[in-house]
């Protein structure tokens, strides 16, 4: 996020910060934050599983879920994880064209996924599933809404880095800036890889 932070690593007058482990502070912090986020999503997913079938009236998963659309969204998100790895490779090699190409694709995937979710929510709403219709709807919207917010934040972050990349600010020395967002992006993906089967497929397969 902080492209300026690494300016001082490139600054010849300053020695690099000594760290106790061979890992940059920001990367360690991102891993730590991801560890914390695991509990965040674990709580959301647990609540959904507890409440999925506890609704008093109103539509249930089988009345709502449309697997083909979500499968497509899942695929898009999975591909985006691959794209961001390619972008990072470009950044590390100083290959700006490669960086911009793959990073643009990653951002597009993010936008597509968020759009898919907005469409899905609207569609469900028109089919009669408001946020507080029943327990299924509330726990479903809360879980996927928080995930979607994470995707949106990641997309905004990657788009900011894309702007930096176009301006030529993401040099190999600053590839860590992209790596941090990529770590976060992979995590958000992994959470979806759990949500897709657990929330969508398992709710239909019974």
């Amino acid at each position: 996020m902080t492209s300026a932070v690494l300016d001082h690593d490139a600054h010849p007058a300053h020695e690099a910060h000594h760290t106790s482990l061979p890992i940059d502070n920001r990367k360690l912090a991102m891993w730590t934050f991801i560890g914390s986020e695991c509990l965040f999503f674990a709580t959301l997913i647990t609540t959904f599983l507890i409440y999925r079938d506890s609704s008093v009236g109103g539509p249930g998963p089988k009345d709502m879920f449309e697997v083909p659309l979500v499968t497509f969204g899942t695929a898009i998100l999975l591909f985006s994880s691959f794209f961001v790895v390619m972008a990072l490779d470009g950044a590390k090699r100083g290959d700006r064209k490669k960086l911009i190409l793959w990073l643009s694709l990653t951002v597009l995937c993010g936008i597509f996924f968020v759009a898919m979710q907005v469409y899905e929510f609207q569609h469900f709403y028109h089919k009669g599933l408001g946020y507080s219709t029943n327990l299924f709807s509330a726990s479903f919207y809360t879980l996927t809404g928080f995930h979607g917010t994470h995707v949106a934040i990641g997309t905004l972050w990657l788009a900011t880095l894309l702007k930096d990349a176009i301006k030529g600010r993401i040099t190999p020395a600053k590839a860590l800036n992209l790596e941090l967002s990529a770590l976060y992006w992979h995590f958000v993906d992994v959470v979806w890889i759990i949500i897709f089967p657990v929330v969508y497929l398992m709710s239909l397969g019974r």
Partner: protein
């Protein structure tokens, strides 16, 4: 500093207010944590005194039942989230970098943001009093007492949203301190050479990082129930109030270790220095702390024995809870082993540390009594429980934090607190504390329930309650002695030596108070009790007073406005949820403005050069 300020007068001549608002110095941030937490501690204490005055006699009429609900809810919430946690954070901030030989934390601006979010969150919670709508559903906000049906006012919205704000500060600080301790240690300071306080801080951050996300989600669901009318905890909608209790205590039990582990760390620093002996069983101390934290995630339902979970769950949580007594006992014996045979120096910090051990043993023993589910059914929701957790939280955490205050005061402010007044403080605390809380064991077993605003005559509660109230005012007097001590020494000269106690750890190697960059040269550590090792190597009792150096060429992060701006944006976002309650959430003008300010602040923050205004350049 003075010379550099002259050299760069146009850039660095900032007023004191701006200086403190924009500082990223971990020491200033620590002092602000301490000052604001102490004020909240006084507010929480006054709430307690009002309650004690109400309960002094049967059929008390000082406050109404509704007011009493607000008082006990805010007393608990304040003491946990706005007093003990940030008082610990004061020591994390000021001393973790010093103890590990670092110049600052890993993310100084994030650190400042944590402070401001905490402070604004605390003000937000207390602002509820201005609307005569302070939270009134107990500090654990059990459903359905927190539901829209039973709590229609704004009271529990203040609570749910206030805790949400405070949680953000805690998680940000957790990431920061975890990274700092793992990655910013001085050369040679391996994990098993770290001072125990640093170890306990590290373990506390792990607890914060793994438990706060759970309460975050629970509070989101509660807010959704209250704002959108969803039914997460509403029985009529199929929701389960038990889910709230489980989520709350999955957070809440680790939270009590978040409150006590830093206290363990402080006491483990104080006892060796005032016994002139290294800590007994260092590695056992480290591993017992880690084991307590690990078990702390497997005992939450001992808060819920009365809900009828069935014999299997009751047995599991009983046994797991009893198991925690083992590593805790290890710690207590190690503390005793540290003092045993030492040349004990009974200065104020030592008195409070020894008082801590005694009081914590009593609180620990009544804790083991609660582990026995059938006995707990008799004790739960009575004053017996109130007695227990005040023995561990006041007799434990507050005594240890006070020991830390007397111990580290000279390092923080360059002044020694008066030891004679310190002893008055200690003995008044010790007497006032026990007179207040010891009788609660009996009155609890006699059947007096918690959280009742009054009681009738003739139940045998009168004498106990009167004694408790007298004790509470003695305890308040001890706090006044402390405040007087601070004021008195503040008027005196700032002449504390670098190493007044003959300390074992690195902070005593540098001047009191430390210069902005802490260490002129980054220290190299060869064994634990690093400073004692250095003194032994030099063959001296005390190292020579460190000389004041200019610090030219030392690379320190510059001040920044963005942390406080992001914090204000965040607060505004949450205030917007209250202003337009209930239906417009979250697309209200206030929330949108706050959110926009926050995003703007984050972007400016991200692109701000970190060393643009470094004063040493």
């Amino acid at each position: 500093m003075a010379t550099t300020a002259l050299e760069h007068a146009p850039v660095y001549h900032r007023s004191a207010v701006v200086e403190w608002l924009t500082t990223v110095d971990h020491k200033k941030i620590g002092i602000m944590y301490g000052a604001s937490a102490f004020i909240f501690f006084l507010i929480g204490g006054i709430e307690a005194l009002i309650m004690r005055a109400q309960l002094a006699t049967p059929n008390g009429t000082l406050v109404s039942a509704e007011m009493y609900n607000q008082l006990f809810t805010m007393h608990g919430t304040t003491m946990i989230f706005l007093a003990v946690m940030p008082l610990s954070a004061m020591f994390f901030n000021f001393f973790v970098p010093l103890l590990i030989g670092a110049r600052d934390v890993a993310f100084p601006r994030l650190n400042a943001m944590s402070l401001w979010v905490f402070m604004l969150g605390g003000l937000f919670l207390n602002a509820s009093f201005l609307f005569a709508a302070a939270p009134n559903g107990g500090w654990f906000g059990y459903a359905p007492l927190s539901s829209r049906q039973y709590a229609p006012g704004m009271n529990m919205d203040f609570w749910a949203i206030g805790l949400q704000i405070l949680g953000i500060a805690s998680i940000a600080a957790g990431v920061n301190f975890f990274t700092t301790i793992i990655n910013m240690r001085a050369r040679g300071m391996t994990l098993m050479r770290m001072p125990i306080f640093v170890w306990m801080t590290l373990i506390t951050q792990v607890l914060v990082l793994l438990s706060f996300p759970v309460i975050t989600i629970a509070l989101v669901m509660l807010t959704a129930d209250r704002t959108f009318g969803s039914g997460f905890f509403v029985t009529a909608a199929g929701g389960d109030p038990m889910l709230w209790q489980h989520l709350f205590w999955v957070f809440g039990h680790p939270e009590v270790y978040i409150l006590i582990l830093p206290a363990f760390g402080i006491v483990s620093e104080v006892l060796p220095v005032f016994s002139r002996k290294p800590l007994f069983g260092y590695s056992a101390m480290v591993f017992s702390g880690a084991f307590i934290a690990f078990l702390g995630f497997g005992v939450w339902s001992h808060h819920m024995f009365a809900t009828g979970m069935g014999p299997l769950a009751d047995s599991f949580f009983s046994l797991a809870t009893m198991l925690i007594a083992v590593p805790t006992g290890v710690k207590i014996f190690n503390w005793i082993g540290t003092v045993w045979g030492g040349s004990v120096n009974l200065k104020s910090p030592m008195l409070f540390a020894l008082g801590f051990i005694a009081m914590f043993i009593i609180g620990g023993l009544s804790g083991v009594m609660h582990a026995v589910a059938p006995a707990d059914l008799q004790q739960t929701d009575t004053y017996f429980v109130v007695a227990h957790f005040h023995y561990v939280l006041f007799g434990g955490s507050i005594f240890a934090l006070t020991a830390g205050a007397y111990y580290w005061w000279p390092k923080m402010f360059g002044r020694m607190l008066d030891d004679r007044l310190g002893k008055w403080h200690f003995w008044l605390s010790m007497i006032g504390f026990n007179v207040t809380f010891m009788p609660m064991h009996w009155v609890g077993l006699l059947g007096m329930p918690r959280r009742v605003y009054t009681y009738p005559e003739g139940l045998g509660f009168e004498l106990f309650n009167m004694v408790q109230t007298i004790g509470a005012f003695i305890l308040a007097l001890s706090i006044l002695v402390f405040i007087w001590n601070v004021i008195r020494t503040w008027r005196g000269p700032a002449d504390a030596p670098a190493d007044p106690w003959g300390g074992a750890t690195l902070e005593w190697a540098i001047s009191s108070p430390p210069q902005e960059f802490n260490f002129a040269e980054e220290p190299v550590v060869t064994e634990k009790d690093a400073l004692w090792a250095m003194k032994d190597a030099a063959g001296v009792e005390r190292l020579p007073e460190p000389v004041h150096v200019s610090g030219k060429g030392i690379h320190m992060p510059g001040p920044s406005w963005w942390p406080v701006i992001v914090a204000v944006g965040l607060l505004t976002f949450f205030v917007g949820l209250m202003v337009h309650r209930p239906w417009a959430f979250p697309f209200t003008p206030v929330s949108i403005a706050g959110f926009a300010l926050m995003v703007f602040g984050i972007f400016k923050w991200a692109y701000e050069p970190v060393d643009a205004h470094a004063p040493q350049h």
